[in-house]
Structures are given as structure tokens and as C-alpha cells.
């Protein structure tokens, strides 16, 4: 089952307090928070900013560390804050790159995307994370983004709407359309109906 909602769960409050406290446990607590959130962050960024996902993720954590002492909230708020920061950094990076176009290497290996893979090889049971990210990347960007924020970031519809600046209805519709399109793509690729 997808990991959604509270990932750290009940330990989050204690970890956050330890990370904010500056005591000897702070490093370990921060590492736990980082290990929990960074993979999701990277997967999200690899879809919305594939050329600079690693850099944006690093910059995001710099911002988060600076503001960590003042953060108050539960795990859902924490993740919303994290992904909001990442999204804005991605937007900034996109603007910067549009002013200075940069030739970048593709983030994913050639055989990770559905376009380059033989449909017969698309074995969903053994689909890697990179392959899944590539499949989501084939969707229209807004649909892909909201699906990632719902599924990977674990945010609810309301939080995603607030993050992307759209209405909850628009976000729900986009997510559903994205999933339908994904289902259709998979049917085509696997030759099933």
C-alpha cells in the first residue's frame, strides 16, 4: 500500500522537538526527519523540475533548516511546509533557467521511461521507483504534480489546493483525470483492456 499521511506518525512531535532543541539528540532527530522526507521530495522534484531536482532539494533543506526553530505544527503541516518550499524553489529555478537556458543531461536513464521501454517489458510488479516517476512524468504537468503531492507527499486535497493555489475541486478533478490517463497509458503499453 502506498505510504500516505503520517509517515513518522507518533514519533514526529518528539523528533521535531529534539531537532529544534539543539541538544545532543538534535542531529539524530534531524537525520530521521530528513531520511523520511527527502526521498519523497526528490521524487516530486524529479517530475516538476527534472533538470535540477537534487539541487533544489538541497536548497529546500537549507531553507528548512533556517526556519526549523520557528516551525510549529504536526507532521502534515511539516510536509506541507517542506513541499511548499520545494515548489517555490523549483519555480525560481525555472525562471532562472528560462533567462539562462542550460543544456542538461536527462535525470533518468533511457530505459526508465515508458516511451523508451518495450511495452512487453513493462512489468508492473517489478516497476522501479524511477520507472514509476517516468510514467507520472508522461502526464500533463499539473495532473502529475497533484498526484505526487497526494500520493508521495501524503497531503490531502485541501492542503494540495492551498499549495498549488487552486481550488480543491480543480485539484481533485486534475488528480482524477491524471489517474484515468495513467490507466489508459498502462493499458496501451501492456496491451490490455
Amino acid at each position: 500500500m502506498p505510504i500516505l499521511g503520517n509517515v513518522i506518525g507518533e514519533k514526529f512531535g518528539r523528533l521535531l522537538a529534539a531537532a529544534q532543541g539543539g541538544t545532543g539528540e538534535a542531529d539524530g532527530a534531524f537525520s530521521a526527519l530528513w531520511r523520511d522526507a527527502n526521498p519523497a521530495l526528490l521524487r516530486y522534484l524529479r517530475v516538476i523540475a527534472p533538470d535540477a531536482a537534487e539541487d533544489i532539494a538541497a536548497d529546500t533543506w537549507v531553507q528548512v533548516v533556517r526556519g526549523l526553530g520557528g516551525f510549529r505544527g504536526d507532521e502534515a503541516a511539516w510536509r506541507a511546509w517542506l513541499f511548499t518550499t520545494a515548489r517555490r524553489r523549483a519555480i525560481d529555478e525555472g525562471r532562472r533557467r528560462s533567462r539562462r537556458p542550460v543544456v542538461s543531461l536527462p535525470e533518468l536513464p533511457d530505459d526508465a521511461g515508458p516511451g523508451g521501454a518495450d511495452p512487453a517489458d513493462l512489468v508492473l510488479e517489478k516497476l522501479s521507483t524511477a520507472g514509476a516517476v517516468a510514467l507520472i512524468s508522461s502526464l500533463p504537468r499539473f495532473q502529475a504534480e497533484v498526484i505526487l503531492l497526494r500520493v508521495v507527499a501524503g497531503l490531502d486535497n485541501q492542503a494540495v489546493a492551498q499549495l498549488v493555489g487552486r481550488s480543491p475541486g480543480a485539484v481533485r478533478v486534475a488528480a482524477h483525470r491524471g489517474l484515468r490517463r495513467l490507466a489508459a497509458t498502462l493499458r496501451e503499453r501492456t496491451g490490455t483492456r
Partner: protein
């Protein structure tokens, strides 16, 4: 929220509510409704792969993040907003519109104010100004300068008009306590800030931490007096035995009963006699809070999302 079904499509999608539920279940990670499981299983597998366990390349930046975390300022860090550099730049521009000028102005003002305060407490202002300072910030009164009173510097530090406070300052002042061989819990129990006075320099407040049973002997603190319980070195409390122990000779002009005027103390009524037991209030005030000062827990516990 009302959904408007496009005309002509209603009949072709009779299972739309069911489909909506399945899609929401996929997004939430809930079990799929039985009838739709086969239909949405491939999508479910993709979403499962999206949320699989972290891969090694997704955890490789931990050291860098931890280095940033360790380098953070621990206190006084302002909460960060989920903004971008533009906001930070804008903020810098707003707070420093003209470069270093406001900072220089503030620093100059602080120096000036500090200088004025120092002069006021030294009693060297013009009389009118000194009177004003006396009325507002408890500086020495006009006409009473730094030299007036037994401990003008100490008393002035406490805001006590010079000449009134016959006791040394209660904050472990650096001025040797020449009136109180023990230092004086007796002298000014009111002034004891135990957290600040242990081992005060020059033995100024040895009695701040005097335990009951030791004898801060009010009134016995004559110059040179040293009865039982009075402080020889190391006798009565921290600060009394270290270097700079109070000079037992004291000042001949010091009152034998160094009692703070702001707070009546039972000790003031005690006859100056060696071995006299300390007043309960003096002892209590001297010792009660000395070791229990606690800082508030800085850990934040309120919950308000940024």
C-alpha cells in the same frame, strides 16, 4: 460541491460515483472497492512503486543536509517562510534601505544613552538633570555624588539612593564588602540574587548561599568581628573563602547593622553579637532560592502551522 454531468454522457458513465470513490481510494492509499480492483490494479501498482522504500541515491545528500543543520544558529533564528530568495532580498532591502546608516545611528544613540546613564549614576549631571534622573531612574540625588554614602556604587547599581543602603549590593558586587566579614545574608537579604552571587568577587556575597545554621550575623558584622559562625575563610558560604574574601576590618563608618532599608529585616533588630543566629527571613531569603533557579523551557510546544 455540485457536479454537472455533461449532457449525453450521463448514460455512458453510470458508474461515475463508484469510479470517483476508486480514484480517491487510490490517492489515499485505501483499499479499492471490490468491483474496481481489477480495473485499477495497474495504477495502484504504479502508485505503490512511487512510494516504495528509499533508494540509495535518494539518501546520498544526508551529510550535506546535516552539515547545514549543524551550522545553523541555535537561538534567535527567525522562522522561515516558504518563500524564495526574492523575498529574502526584499526583506534585506527593506531593513537596510540606506546601508549602514541606521545601524550607525542606533549604535551612536546607544553609546550616548549609556554615557548619560553612567554620568547620572555617578551623580555628575547638572543639578536639575540629576534631580530628574533621581526621580526617574533612581540615580543618586542631586548633590550626592558617587562619593556620597557608604556604598554609592553598589547602592546605585541597585537603584538605592546613596546613603540609604548601608549594605553592599546584593548582586555579588565587585566591591569588597568591608562591612560584612561574612558577606551578609544579614546585610541585605533582599538583595540576594543567588544565581548571580555565588562566589561573588571580593567576597561580596558569601552569605547569599549560607545554609541555615551558619550564621550570617546581622549586627555582628562589625569591622573585625568574627564570632562563631562569622566568616572566617571558608566558613559560611561560597565566596567567603575564596580570594578576595571580605575584609573583616570593614569601614569604620559602616553601620553595624547593615540592613537594607527597602525591606525591613528582622536582622536589623538583632543586637550585634557574635554567634547570633541569623534571622529566618535573612536565612530563607539568602538560601531559599539560591539553588533552584530554572530557565524556562525554551522548547516550543505551540502548534500553529507556518
Amino acid at each position: 460541491m455540485t457536479r454537472r454531468e455533461p449532457r449525453g454522457e450521463q448514460s455512458s458513465r453510470p458508474d461515475r460515483p463508484s469510479e470517483e470513490r476508486s480514484l480517491e481510494a487510490l490517492l489515499e492509499g485505501s483499499p479499492l472497492p471490490g468491483g474496481d480492483r481489477a480495473r485499477w490494479q495497474p495504477v495502484s501498482q504504479v502508485l505503490t512503486a512511487l512510494t516504495s522504500v528509499p533508494e540509495s541515491n535518494e539518501l546520498s545528500g544526508e551529510a550535506r543536509a546535516l552539515a547545514e543543520f549543524r551550522a545553523r544558529p541555535l537561538h534567535g533564528a527567525a522562522p522561515a517562510r516558504a518563500g524564495h530568495r526574492g523575498r529574502v532580498t526584499w526583506l534585506r532591502r527593506v531593513t537596510r534601505p540606506h546601508g549602514p546608516r541606521p545601524a550607525v545611528t542606533v549604535a551612536t544613540g546607544a553609546v550616548l544613552i549609556g554615557g548619560l546613564l553612567a554620568v547620572a549614576y555617578a551623580g555628575d549631571l547638572p543639578s536639575a538633570a540629576q534631580r530628574l534622573a533621581h526621580n526617574t531612574i533612581d540615580a543618586p540625588a542631586a548633590g550626592r555624588g558617587a562619593s556620597a554614602g557608604p556604598d554609592p556604587a553598589g547602592s546605585s547599581r541597585l537603584g538605592i539612593p546613596a546613603g540609604q543602603a548601608s549594605s553592599p549590593s546584593g548582586h555579588g558586587s565587585a566591591r569588597p564588602d568591608h562591612r560584612t566579614p561574612h558577606g551578609s545574608a544579614s546585610g541585605s537579604p533582599r538583595h540576594h540574587r543567588p544565581s548571580s552571587s555565588p562566589s561573588g568577587p571580593a567576597g561580596s556575597r558569601p552569605s547569599a548561599h549560607r545554609k541555615p545554621g551558619h550564621s550570617p550575623v546581622p549586627g555582628s558584622l562589625r569591622p573585625g568581628s568574627s564570632g562563631p559562625g562569622s566568616s572566617g575563610p571558608g566558613s559560611s558560604g561560597p565566596g567567603s573563602s575564596g580570594p578576595g574574601s571580605p575584609d573583616p576590618s570593614g569601614s569604620p563608618t559602616d553601620s553595624p547593622s547593615p540592613v537594607p532599608t527597602q525591606q525591613p529585616s528582622p536582622s536589623a533588630s538583632l543586637a550585634p553579637s557574635p554567634g547570633a543566629t541569623p534571622s529566618p527571613s535573612a536565612a530563607a531569603s539568602a538560601t531559599g532560592q539560591s539553588r533552584h533557579h530554572r530557565n524556562p523551557d525554551p522548547a516550543g510546544t505551540s502548534s500553529s502551522p507556518p
